[in-house]
């Protein structure tokens, strides 16, 4: 009997079931080459680089701001210098503005006030009665210490004399103290004026480091930093690193936040009731002993920092926790019955006996229940000490504890961890 013809569609399905093309030599080489070009760095390194890049950008921004402020002061000084020169070259009555404006909000500026000498004060005025006034200049704007008599900063000037120095030292002046006077010809050494003023200012500043610190604090309410935080969860070592920022709300309180990449290894081997107890055979059983997980996550903490003293602070807050990658493995205990030959050492009689063999097997798990999820993850508590390093850099050493909340606390894994955070603020 003739076999019926196979249906065409069924024929196609059979044809393609195990169909494979012949390997084309060079494909693997092309693939691996492409991979190297496409991903020259592993994703982990890319993330670390991104964090460092953000940190670097913030640092550069800070540095740029710092330099810009410095340059502004320089410009003012240069302009003034020219004006002084031109004033020297010009005839009597020319307007001269002498300024040495320190950084805004600084201690020095607070103690300075602007004194304008009115135009009616001409070289012909009877100035001997008013030694504070500057006669040859039609209008002079000077910054002199506040709450002090304006005259204290200006020396006696005679009708055909020119002022060559306006001292702006934020130190008390004695009345009628002679600061600097050039008698005779109207020659002004403006360089010496500027240098002298700057030097005086710097000397005064260096004499008062506390005020310098206050100036920094008064400058900006924002703090930026980079942090590295090794921690322990149960017996595993974790590491986190990232950038931090804080906004000073008041003298005692500030709001802190940041972004850090966290590698968290966690496990739970204290499973009271066996979660999986599957019989492999009638004589063996498999029992889940422990779950281990390796989690990489982005942690965004938000917290309130309370300044206990100048150097000691404490903080409390919560973390937003986004799991980027997750690897899990289960450890099973396998108990199986086996028969074993046993030789009696006395009689030499060989007999079989039944023994129970227990082994622990670790198996990777494909399930990643946390991966890709975001949680309001942790309560963060910490207490820390701040130590000034140099310039505007401070180091913060902060023991902390992170307690999982919400969905994270109901996981099989124990994600609670604590450690020590090292932070550099700038």
């Amino acid at each position: 009997m003739k076999e019926p013809k196979k249906e065409f569609i069924q024929g196609i399905a059979d044809l393609f079931e195990d169909y494979e093309e012949a390997y084309v030599p060079g494909e693997w080489e092309a693939f691996s080459r492409q991979q190297k070009t496409k991903y020259p760095f592993s994703p982990m390194w890319i993330k670390i680089a991104a964090v460092l890049l953000v940190g670097g950008a913030v640092a550069l921004y800070q540095l740029y701001n710092y330099r810009t402020v410095g340059k502004k002061n320089e410009v003012v000084t240069t302009v003034d210098k020219k004006k002084i020169n031109s004033a020297a070259a010009k005839e009597k009555g020319a307007q001269v503005i002498v300024r040495n404006i320190p950084e805004q909000g600084s201690e020095v500026q607070k103690n300075l006030s602007v004194v304008k000498i009115q135009p009616e004060l001409t070289p012909n005025s009877p100035l001997t009665d008013f030694p504070e006034l500057i006669p040859p200049i039609s209008a002079v704007t000077l910054l002199v210490p506040e709450n002090k008599n304006a005259g204290n900063s200006i020396s006696l000037v005679k009708p055909d004399q020119y002022i060559v120095k306006a001292n702006v030292l934020p130190v008390p002046f004695q009345r009628n103290e002679k600061v600097n006077t050039v008698m005779g010809k109207p020659e002004i050494n403006s360089d010496s004026v500027i240098k002298s003023k700057t030097m005086d200012f710097l000397v005064a500043e260096s004499r008062n480091p506390v005020k310098h610190q206050q100036k920094k604090n008064a400058g900006s309410k924002w703090d930026f930093g980079v942090a590295l935080a090794p921690s322990m969860s149960r017996s595993n070592m974790n590491i986190a690193g990232g950038v931090t920022t804080a906004y000073r709300l008041s003298e005692k309180f500030s709001l802190s936040s940041g972004l850090s990449l966290m590698q968290l290894e966690s496990g739970n081997n204290a499973i009271a009731a066996p979660m999986v107890k599957a019989s492999v055979s009638s004589l063996s059983e498999k029992q889940l002993l422990a779950i281990d997980a390796n989690i990489r996550a982005i942690d965004i903490p938000v917290g309130i920092v309370y300044q206990i003293s100048k150097k000691i602070y404490t903080s409390a807050g919560v973390s937003y926790f986004n799991v980027v990658s997750e690897k899990r493995s289960n450890t099973y205990g396998l108990t199986a019955q086996a028969s074993e030959s046993f030789s009696n050492p006395v009689t030499g009689y060989v007999s079989d006996r039944t023994v129970l063999n227990s082994v622990a097997i670790a198996e990777p798990v494909a399930e990643t229940p946390l991966k890709g999820n975001s949680y309001l993850g942790f309560f963060n508590f910490s207490i820390g000490r701040k130590q000034h390093l140099f310039n505007k850099y401070d180091i913060l050493i902060e023991p902390f504890i992170k307690v999982p909340i919400g969905k994270l606390s109901t996981q099989e894994l124990n994600l609670m961890n604590s450690g020590l955070k090292f932070q550099i603020n700038f």
Partner: protein
């Protein structure tokens, strides 16, 4: 070789990538070319599938039985390739949004006259609209149900059935014509 792959998976040894790539490249290309006429795109899909597989294969579940591993690992790679192909199709939306209408000729049963050759059948498959061909591949060759196909292609189940019927009729018709010509 499979023992080597199993050992490599256990040890998370990246050196097995090459062995796996060379061994399964042809099989995955066979799948990918059923979905894409353009060999360049098919190759791209295969490479993307390998990238995905290399990332996740260390967590591949198996019971250390070589014969079972051989089957399940191959099926797993095939599944990744099909999913990657569908992603590629979805990313180029025009492929699925446009269904070419053609005169439907109903052919109920067509027996195979001679041996079927892959290249000939491929030519016939490429004659089908992309969506019809995709549904045909998924149902008849990959073995997915209409519900699964509807989910994967985000089309109604009834459409999946209709496209499959049309694809089968069209293929039978094309086959008959090709036999008549020869």
């Amino acid at each position: 070789m499979f023992r080597e792959i199993i050992a490599g998976l256990h040890a998370r040894d990246e050196r097995i990538h090459e062995r796996i790539y060379v061994h399964y490249w042809g099989y995955l290309m066979g799948i990918s070319t059923r979905y894409f006429k353009d060999r360049g795109i098919a190759k791209e899909v295969v490479n993307d599938s390998f990238i995905k597989a290399f990332k996740t294969m260390y967590d591949f579940k198996h019971d250390n039985n070589v014969t079972d591993f051989q089957k399940t690992f191959k099926a797993w790679l095939a599944k990744i390739t099909v999913r990657t192909a569908l992603d590629k199709i979805r990313s180029s939306k025009t492929l699925l949004n446009y269904v070419e209408e053609y005169e439907e000729v109903k052919s109920a049963h067509v027996g195979i006259e001679d041996n079927l050759f892959v290249q000939d059948i491929m030519k016939l498959l490429y004659e089908l609209p992309d969506l019809h061909r995709t549904v045909f591949n998924l149902y008849e060759i990959e073995g997915y149900s209409h519900d699964e196909i509807a989910g994967m292609l985000t089309i109604p189940v009834s459409s999946s059935r209709t496209y499959l019927t049309r694809a089968k009729h069209k293929l039978r018709d094309l086959y008959k014509k090709s036999i008549e010509l020869n």
